[in-house]
């Protein structure tokens, strides 16, 4: 069940009506039932896997908490084997057999990846790590724990919540008053507009260009590559907006997944602001255990490369994702190595620390590096990624190819792209300045005026309706 659908609207209406009307004791069972129904709609029988893993991890964490040092490790390892092992089996068997062992297609598994497995496996694994380390006690109440794992706003595409942030809210059930509902509704509508108006519109052009790069000019391909940078950000942050919006309407607060990632001065900085719940997961449960930056420069670089390679593979079982991860690791390694050199260069160019030009140059450069790496992320194969890069370089020989660009994106839409991005740039500038993501809008006329504007924008410019296929969120595939 995707957020931008009438089915979800009906589901959420029923769920939240029950949530607000039912007495306190029945609220949690009602919420869990809703979460399971939500998952079963798309996940079908994989619901049993989700429920099985949830129950097993709950029991193992309780056992680990009570056990001595050895047993603690044993139960935790068993739990991790179950969750991360399950993820590896379901997600990577095909890749391992086909790409590493060269198995015939007839011998490859044909199962469909369980919906949201990358996300709920990491939620469960993170919980086991935390309990084992004694960061917080194991949850005694199975109902609370099941809601924590299966919480429908986060279940399919995150944010990957931690036990110390979401579990206390589930335990104590936050008040879901009018203010929370209003904020949640605005956040949801904002995300919906972001997804259907901006991200999905960009995807029309990006998909067309990537479907046959040879059919478009180098200039058109370059624009498609840049638009993909915006598409993936807007798509994923729209999901987070909608997830936070739903949770907010029920009174819950989710972890923020993005913090103006493109308004950043380095690739390293970008990774602190992009998919925060995942990068912090890797930092805490992989990078730090590997030694982090405490064991010298060479070891730090190696640790970064390992983390990014794993992160790449987490996104998808393909060489393109692995290489995408490694490229981002290499960016950071190169950043560390060349730091003194770059500082010297900036000084020679007279771009001192206090100047306004340097941050702009660094921001553009970082965006360029990140955008280039997205080519690997978006391409079906490494060959296609190489072809796309070569194709863009044709600009040097044949020029930009405006005619081809205009056949990909008609002039009227091309002109409106900056305008379409403007509200979301405004949102990120607010975040970068430390302001709340969206204004509070306490005046009901201002609130409903903005809602009206968003809904009208969506109704006219959104990608939906006759002639359009509903587009899934990019991160659903992971």
């Amino acid at each position: 069940m995707s957020f931008p659908s009438l089915g979800f609207a009906a589901f959420f209406l029923i769920l939240s009506l029950g949530w607000h009307l039912l007495p306190g004791k029945l609220k949690k069972p009602w919420l869990l039932l809703g979460c399971l129904v939500f998952y079963a709609q798309g996940g079908g029988l994989w619901l049993l896997l989700l429920m099985g893993e949830t129950l097993a991890v709950w029991l193992l964490a309780l056992a680990a908490e009570k056990g001595n040092w050895g047993k603690k490790r044993l139960w935790t390892a068993l739990g991790l084997g179950l969750t991360l092992g399950g993820l590896v089996v379901f997600k990577y068997t095909r890749f391992f057999l086909r790409d590493l062992l060269g198995a015939y297609p007839a011998f490859l598994p044909t199962w469909v990846l369980p919906l949201g497995i990358s996300f709920f496996s990491f939620t469960l694994a993170g919980y086991l790590f935390d309990v084992q380390k004694g960061k917080y006690p194991a949850e005694k109440n199975l109902l609370d724990f099941a809601i924590f794992v299966c919480f429908f706003p986060t279940l399919l595409s995150g944010p990957i919540e931690r036990g110390n942030t979401l579990l206390p809210q589930i335990r104590d059930l936050p008040a879901s008053g009018g203010e929370a509902r209003r904020r949640g509704l605005l956040r949801f509508a904002w995300g919906l507009t972001k997804k259907l108006v901006a991200a999905d519109t960009f995807s029309l052009y990006v998909d067309a260009a990537y479907a046959d790069p040879s059919a478009v000019s180098g200039g058109a391909m370059l624009l498609a590559v840049i638009l993909y940078s915006f598409q993936i950000y807007l798509d994923f942050s729209a999901y987070t907006d909608m997830a936070s919006g739903c949770a907010g309407m029920l009174g819950f607060r989710l972890t923020e997944n993005f913090s103006a990632p493109y308004l950043t001065l380095s690739v390293k900085d970008f990774w602190k602001k992009w998919h925060i719940s995942l990068t912090s997961w890797f930092r805490e449960y992989l990078y730090f255990p590997l030694g982090g930056s405490r064991k010298g420069k060479e070891r730090t670089i190696l640790n970064i490369l390992i983390v990014f390679a794993v992160s790449g593979l987490w996104h998808g079982a393909a060489w393109t994702f692995l290489l995408w991860g490694l490229v981002n690791g290499l960016y950071q390694a190169a950043g560390m190595v060349t730091l003194p050199l770059r500082q010297k260069l900036w000084r020679r160019l007279g771009l001192g620390k206090k100047g306004k030009l340097l941050p702009i140059i660094r921001c553009i450069l970082s965006f360029g590096f990140i955008t280039a790496s997205w080519i690997l992320f978006r391409s079906e194969t490494l060959g296609q990624a190489v072809y796309v890069v070569k194709h863009i370089l044709l600009i040097l020989r044949y020029g930009f190819g405006w005619d081809s660009l205009l056949s990909l994106i008609p002039l009227r839409q091309l002109r409106l792209i900056p305008l379409g991005l403007l509200p979301f740039v405004w949102e990120d500038v607010r975040i970068a300045r430390g302001k709340p993501r969206l204004p509070a809008l306490r005046n009901p006329f201002a609130f409903w005026g903005v809602m009206l504007l968003l809904m009208l924008t969506l109704a006219v410019f959104g990608v939906y309706g006759l002639g359009f296929d509903a587009k899934e969120f990019v991160y659903f595939q992971f």
């Binding site: 109704a459 006219v460 939906y464 309706g465 006759l466």
Partner: protein, 336 residues
């Protein structure tokens, strides 16, 4: 001091105001972005440009009506002012709502309905074309729920669903066409140029599916009741065609219609009486081209002359102009 929270009344007022504005604006935008229909039936915007209560008779039905019947030639023969308010493969249920809507601005003395739709399925895949041009109102909403496929409901109730993507191509002139629609000089008729020789035959495929036929008859009964209530004479006919419906079926239709107390004319075999040339006057086995339509329309004019009598306050200048435009169009099509 903390600001006072706005009261429930104020919040509800803001909500309903926004909702009302949303519904109004999305409807308006959907209507403006929808391409204006200019031929092949369902020309509601043009129909509403006719001077109120100026028409003597109205034709209803499917493409077999808007391709075969030209009001300007009927006027030349009889002085009767008519309009074709038919739609593509229009089902009997849709015709009922068309009639209800059409009678809001016109009170004809005679309504003529082609009965081929008694043999149609419940849905003929043209609900969008038939309903999307209907004016907003109870008739349109009823037509959506009672006569259109469920898959079409979203787009018919919320036209932006179907047409919003046209913002990429729509020009101001498109909106102008909706805001100031022109009168249709063909009065709902769509002239067809091509001529394909036809061998008269019986189309054995045109047999009713019992359950659907009975449902269609029930809608015809409602149409009969509506016309009776409005004091409008109803004439039901079967159109001439080169691939006629089997005799046993047309006879059954005739019997069923007459049993409801509705006038019925079986014109299935009238082509030779009309002087139709099977080599030149057909567009396809069902539809006349412009020369065939002229023969059929003039026949209607002669047949109806005096019954009913033309209104005394006739729009003579308009109809003279219509005839000129039609003759010019005929010449253009036949020479090209």
């Amino acid at each position: 001091m903390e600001k006072r929270k706005p009261g429930l009344g104020l919040r509800l007022l803001a909500f309903f105001l926004a909702l009302l504005l949303f519904l109004t604006l999305t409807w308006l935008l959907g209507w403006l972005l929808m391409p204006q229909r200019k031929e092949y039936g369902s020309l509601w915007e043009q129909y509403r440009q006719e001077p109120e209560r100026s028409l003597d008779l109205l034709f209803f039905g499917s493409s077999i009506v808007y391709c075969d019947v030209s009001p300007a030639w009927i006027w030349e023969e009889s002085g009767l002012q008519s309009w074709v308010m038919a739609g593509p493969e229009q089902t009997m249920a849709l015709t009922y709502y068309y009639m209800k809507e059409a009678f809001k601005t016109q009170s004809p003395r005679l309504a003529v309905l082609e009965a081929g739709s008694l043999l149609f399925r419940k849905y003929q895949d043209y609900s969008r074309a038939n309903v999307s041009t209907m004016p907003l109102g109870l008739n349109r909403i009823s037509a959506v729920f009672r006569a259109a496929e469920r898959s079409e409901w979203k787009g018919l109730l919320f036209p932006l669903y179907n047409y919003h993507a046209r913002w990429t191509e729509a020009e101001w002139a498109d909106a102008e066409e909706h805001l100031h629609p022109a009168q249709d000089m063909m009065a709902g008729y769509t002239p067809l140029a091509r001529s394909i020789p036809q061998e008269p035959r019986i189309n054995r495929d045109r047999v009713p599916e019992e359950e659907t036929y009975l449902a269609n008859l029930a809608w015809l009964k409602k149409i009969g009741d509506l016309c009776e209530k409005k004091g409008i004479r109803l004439l039901v006919y079967l159109a001439p065609s080169a691939a006629r419906t089997p005799y046993e079926v047309t006879e059954r239709i005739g019997a069923d219609v007459r049993e409801m107390g509705i006038e019925f004319l079986d014109l299935s075999d009238i082509a030779s009486e009309l002087g139709v040339n099977d080599e030149l006057d057909w567009y396809d086995p069902l539809h006349f081209n412009i020369s065939g339509a002229e023969k059929f329309s003039r026949w209607w004019g002669r047949m109806l002359a005096g019954e009913p009598a033309p209104r005394p306050e006739a729009e003579t200048e308009l109809w003279k102009k219509r005839l000129e435009v039609l003759e010019a169009r005929k010449e253009e099509l036949q020479s090209g």
